[in-house]
């Protein structure tokens, strides 16, 4: 049971990092950004370069992944989504375009690094956690995952509540029109939203890559769960998203144990997020902390 809790916290940390950007963009621009998956992958893959140059420091890989994925996010806003909006494209066209953009980025990654599994060159240690009679094992990468998720989420919280730019982001996500009427440069704020959201997804990608392996479709592996998290948390709700990430993390890890008990293949793991998604849509489509408006 302790191991399940630890694993749930790990999965939840990953989903929290990946989902923040998805939910912010979803709220402000009103479209489901499927290319968000590729921000995860591009952060993870650029990490390979930093791993090669700077050695075995996971921290440097994370910073590199953040900066590069953030830049990819900003690039996609400037090259694809902003021009489309200027031409009067609806939210639905942006969603379809995000699929096309995702195809481009993913196959560029595949062209550069190849379709096979890759691993970072890292030294990992194995820790054993003992509480009472229960034990759980976790690697040093897992420890970094837990700590950095808590740190980053707290930082984003402070950023959103205490800084001028963070407050402008919240105002924009509440109502872009009203924010713009109050003198907020919405276009400039959006650039930062993309940078922050995609960058955090990039860190998520680095951590997932360090924990498991790198593969071009690694973003897609987390995308479905991330959408379930975003909808469960209520679109655009930062705190709801964090809570939902850990709830889904727990549901998935518990679900895997249940699959084993039912002697079903654990290959069905991605289906758990799907079941959660369908249940939310049927029972409470605005999510646990979503507002009435959507």
């Amino acid at each position: 049971m302790l191991q399940i809790t630890v694993n749930s916290a790990l999965t939840g940390s990953l989903y929290a990092l990946v989902s923040i950007g998805l939910t912010l963009v979803y709220r402000i621009l009103k479209f489901a950004n499927f290319s968000h998956a590729e921000m995860v992958a591009s952060g993870a893959y650029i990490g390979l370069v930093f791993n090669h140059i700077a050695g075995q420091s996971l921290l440097i890989i994370m910073v590199g992944g953040f900066a590069f994925a953030g830049a990819v996010g900003v690039g996609s806003e400037l090259l694809v989504f902003r021009p489309l909006r200027r031409r009067g494209a609806e939210a639905i066209s942006l969603m379809v375009a995000s699929i096309g953009l995702g195809l481009i980025i993913r196959h560029c990654i595949q062209q550069v690094w190849g379709p096979q599994f890759l691993w970072y060159n890292l030294k990992t240690k194995l820790y054993v956690l003992k509480i009472g009679g229960a034990r759980a094992t976790l690697t040093s990468v897992n420890v970094v995952m837990l700590v950095s998720a808590v740190l980053l989420v707290s930082l984003v919280h402070i950023f959103l509540t205490k800084t001028r730019l963070g407050k402008a982001m919240r105002a924009t996500s509440d109502s872009p029109v009203l924010a713009s009427a109050c003198g907020i440069d919405v276009d400039r704020v959006l650039i930062w939203v993309w940078f922050l959201g995609a960058g955090l997804a990039g860190i998520g990608g680095v951590l997932r890559g360090a924990d498991t392996r790198l593969v071009p479709q690694m973003g897609w592996e987390t995308l479905l769960s991330s959408f379930a998290v975003v909808i469960l948390g209520g679109i655009g709700n930062f705190y709801g998203t964090i809570l939902a990430a850990y709830i889904l993390g727990f549901a998935e890890n518990l679900g895997v144990v249940m699959l084993q008990n039912l002697s079903l293949s654990t290959g069905y793991r991605p289906a758990i997020a799907f079941v959660v998604l369908i249940v939310i849509l049927l029972v409470r489509p605005r999510g646990i902390m979503g507002s009435e408006r959507d």
Partner: protein, 300 residues
């Protein structure tokens, strides 16, 4: 010479099958604005149902009917939780459902499912045509395509089709006119799903082998690109798109044989171009090459 004829027949068979998928997506997305991002799931369901039925002895037509029925039922099940909500929830749900279907086909061990796929799916009328079979099968596929094209053109110009278009343009206004929007959307999704199931059946009986890795999510976006390039809300556009994308995919394969490009690079390049086509068309020509035809209104 024979090989050239069968190559063209093979190409046109695929154009026909993807044309069917394109029209089915057009009914959903082009006319009703239902963003089905899981087209491949309905295609896969059709292919597998038809394969399982005919392998256990049922005739081809029973397989085709079964494929349409089960795929339509699957569309109905997807419609229930999603079509009353925001339109993008359907996209997320269908893309997820497509992955689940593939997982089931991959992990389920009973009924002959599993990673090895299903082999020796009977090819209808194979004994009759023998060597000229590719041409004969092309004729069967195109007969189905033309039949479906006529049916869907009829549907689109009927009062039912006009309501679908009204929902696309303004859902609230259509609701205010007393139309049951949810029921119409559901019918549109079921219709499109039946058709995708039929395409799946035709595909399975042509390749005579199906396996889970034939039904990757990428296939859905291939069909989307066909619709976007050929012309959204125009069934002829969907067929034109199928022809263009099929010609493009084949030419990259031929190019690979002429110039020395590694297989990986060729596949990556193909998908990068398809992604670019989606983005560029949405940006510069969102209605596609053909686009929707204007409706003539005769004053009373």
């Amino acid at each position: 010479m024979v090989s050239l004829v069968s190559y063209i027949a093979d190409t046109m068979t695929y154009v026909g099958i993807f044309g069917l998928l394109g029209i089915s997506l057009n009914i959903e997305a082009g006319y009703t604005r239902l963003m089905n991002f899981g087209k491949v799931a309905f295609f896969a369901v059709g292919a597998y149902v038809s394969a399982l039925l005919t392998v256990s002895g049922a005739p081809f037509l029973a397989g085709l009917a079964g494929a349409m029925l089960v795929a339509g039922l699957f569309g109905f099940l997807i419609a229930l939780p999603t079509l009353k909500l925001r339109e993008d929830y359907l996209a997320i749900t269908t893309i997820a459902a497509a992955e689940i279907i593939r997982l089931v086909l991959l992990n389920e061990r009973s009924y002959g499912l599993g990673p090895m796929g299903i082999r020796d799916i009977p090819r209808p009328l194979f004994g009759v045509f023998g060597a000229s079979y590719p041409v004969a099968y092309m004729a069967i596929v195109w007969a189905c395509l033309i039949a479906w094209l006529l049916v869907s053109q009829r549907i689109i110009s009927s009062p039912f089709g006009r309501i679908l278009k009204a929902i696309r343009e303004d859902e609230v206004a259509t609701e205010a006119l007393g139309k049951d929007v949810f029921a119409f959307k559901t019918k549109s999704l079921v219709l499109g799903s039946c058709m995708a199931g039929a395409a799946g059946s035709l595909f399975a009986h042509y390749t005579s082998f199906v396996s889970p890795d034939m039904f990757m999510p990428l296939l859905t976006f291939s069909v989307w690109t066909m619709m976007i390039v050929g012309g959204t809300a125009n069934n002829y556009g969907a067929i034109l798109g199928a022809l263009l994308i099929q010609a493009f995919e084949r030419s990259t394969r031929i190019l690979k044989d002429l110039v020395d490009i590694p297989t990986g690079a060729q596949v990556n390049l193909r998908w990068i171009v398809i992604g670019l086509l989606m983005v560029i068309f949405l940006m510069y020509k969102p209605q596609g090459i053909l686009g929707e035809r204007k409706v003539r209104v005769t004053p009373p």
